[in-house]
Assembly symmetry: C2
């Protein structure tokens, strides 16, 4: 899609223009034009894209994000929603120890969705990928839905390394890289209507998470025995590691990465910061099991995991109300 | 997911059970259990799947299908909807000359969706992939939507061949492999409430298209200069080939693959069969440009395409009402 064509598509759509006013092909052309950073010989625009996989394997994942479930336009700009939609997939790729290379983007849109909203989402997705060297290579759009629903798939390159799964075969230290509880605190502040400027970094963390993408391949290089991203809350995702490893784990609450801003927000809302740290999702921190004695710059030691013990999760220094075990918690959709 | 776990998930959900009654993880486990044909070391169940790409490249495509836009449960069983959702992607992969290897499946479901509906869709997707050697390696599900919306992404293997794009660099014969107009005739019969048993093959063609998947790689091997699948109707998709090639094409209506059953349905409904042949979508036939003198068993010669002439599309033997040119037609969403 050339710049000239993009201008043409824009000209069709003045201020106040909506998805319903544009045909499918015009809408696709408009979106492809905004995604086109580096031109590609194949896709968008053909039946399918062709993506290089020099490693001989490709990491692949998909996620759905729906308006009023995973985001609200009252609280997030379309641009932030786009970045967030890319984030969930890019973090999943990083959590396998891989580098993201390509995204496919499906959008189901109500007919009355303003084109400016679509543009914002598209730009957000593009800008979240670009610094990682990944780009959008294809997609689909339908103007039929009661809410904006985004279906993003991501591909990634293992660069010759083994994938790091959720299953640890040896005991190791539990290490967190990235933030815990920031996005949850931001969401709690928005829900309570508190938009105090001093909490701006927390609100920003909800609107635009900043996962430590590059730490994924780095943790793999450092010999990580298992890894996942923290999208359902630390305890929920730790449970996945523990169950996959038939193991036991211990987390010391006093060791969790804590910030004075979280404490201030907790005090303001009367919420225990530990709940955010242990159960808050959406920051997409990386949770890894590292061999004893292995250091990782920027990582925070929070406990240990031992496979094969079937001992479940034990939390020191905080009463989680029994939620640390194998019981199902942490949520249905919504 | 083991058989024992699947039984557990089934036990949770008796007759009449719905998506809303099950948590996200239980629903994902149930779906993963049904998809699990051949066990995989990675995914479903990890942050992402790992798919082999021995060719060093991967073909990737994504499509959205929404209830009451692309299918209706009044006319199609959940199982047929699942097969159809896989079909669109598998045909896109075949149209690049590639062999499908893996699918990612996202489902946005109303909370009141019966679990039996989900099971049917999942089984349909699985069974459409299996004969091709492809399988579902990952997915996501959310219980938030006003209609069942399926987001399927497919990956494919070029097996060392160049991808066959929509752009022809040399002139050649236009060849169709597969059916034209069958699905459109079936849909017209359903809309008119005609479910006469003699038209069963047409109704079936709408409910469960049968694209000539294996002809994709075979046409590539035969030296196809350009190719696409016919999902928007022959003229609509031919226009994509012609525009991508800055070319001209001629189609002779008398040469299109026609069937007495189509004629009978057209006579019954008072619809010209040519409209179905030229503009009916959803059969996912393959439309290829083959070098002059190249034969292809099972292919139907319908005309020619010449790149670089900017002559547009000319249809012989039928008045298309001017729709054969470069004007935008063939449909917005829905």
């Amino acid at each position: 899609m050339s710049g000239a064509q993009r201008t043409g598509a824009d000209a069709e759509a003045g201020a106040g223009a909506t998805v319903g006013g544009l045909g499918e092909f015009s809408l696709l052309a408009r979106i492809a034009g905004r995604f086109a950073g580096a031109p590609s010989p194949y896709g968008p625009g053909d039946d399918a894209a062709v993506v290089a996989t020099p490693d001989g394997r490709v990491v692949a994942t998909t996620d759905l994000l729906a308006e009023d479930v995973h985001f609200r336009f009252a609280w997030s700009s379309p641009y932030d929603v786009g970045r967030k939609a890319a984030t969930a997939n890019l973090a999943d790729v990083a959590a396998m120890g891989a580098v993201p290379t390509a995204l496919l983007v499906g959008m189901a849109l109500p007919a009355e969705t303003p084109l400016a909203t679509v543009d914002g989402i598209v730009d957000g997705i593009r800008d979240e990928c670009a610094p990682l060297g990944a780009r959008v290579v294809g997609g689909d759009v339908i103007a039929a839905a009661d809410r904006v629903t985004l279906a993003v798939s991501a591909l990634g390159d293992l660069q010759g390394r083994d994938p790091v799964t959720r299953r640890a075969s040896e005991a190791g230290r539990l290490v967190v890289v990235g933030r815990l509880g920031w996005a949850a605190a931001g969401l709690a502040l928005l829900r309570a209507g508190v938009e105090d400027a001093r909490f701006a970094p927390l609100l920003e963390a909800h609107r635009r998470p900043q996962p430590p993408y590059r730490a994924g391949p780095a943790l793999a290089l450092a010999g990580a025995l298992a890894m996942c991203d923290v999208s359902d809350g630390l305890l929920g995702d730790l449970r996945h590691l523990v169950e996959s490893s038939d193991g036991g784990a211990e987390v010391d609450t006093a060791l969790l990465p804590r910030d004075p801003l979280l404490d201030a927000a907790g005090a303001q809302l009367g919420i225990a910061v530990e709940d955010w740290l242990l159960s808050g999702g959406d920051d997409h921190a990386l949770l890894a099991v590292l061999p004893p004695g292995t250091g990782f710059a920027g990582g925070c030691d929070i406990g240990w995991l031992r496979p094969g013990t079937r001992a479940g999760v034990r939390v020191l220094g905080w009463d989680t109300g029994g939620r640390e075990g194998h019981a199902h918690f942490g949520g249905g959709p919504g």
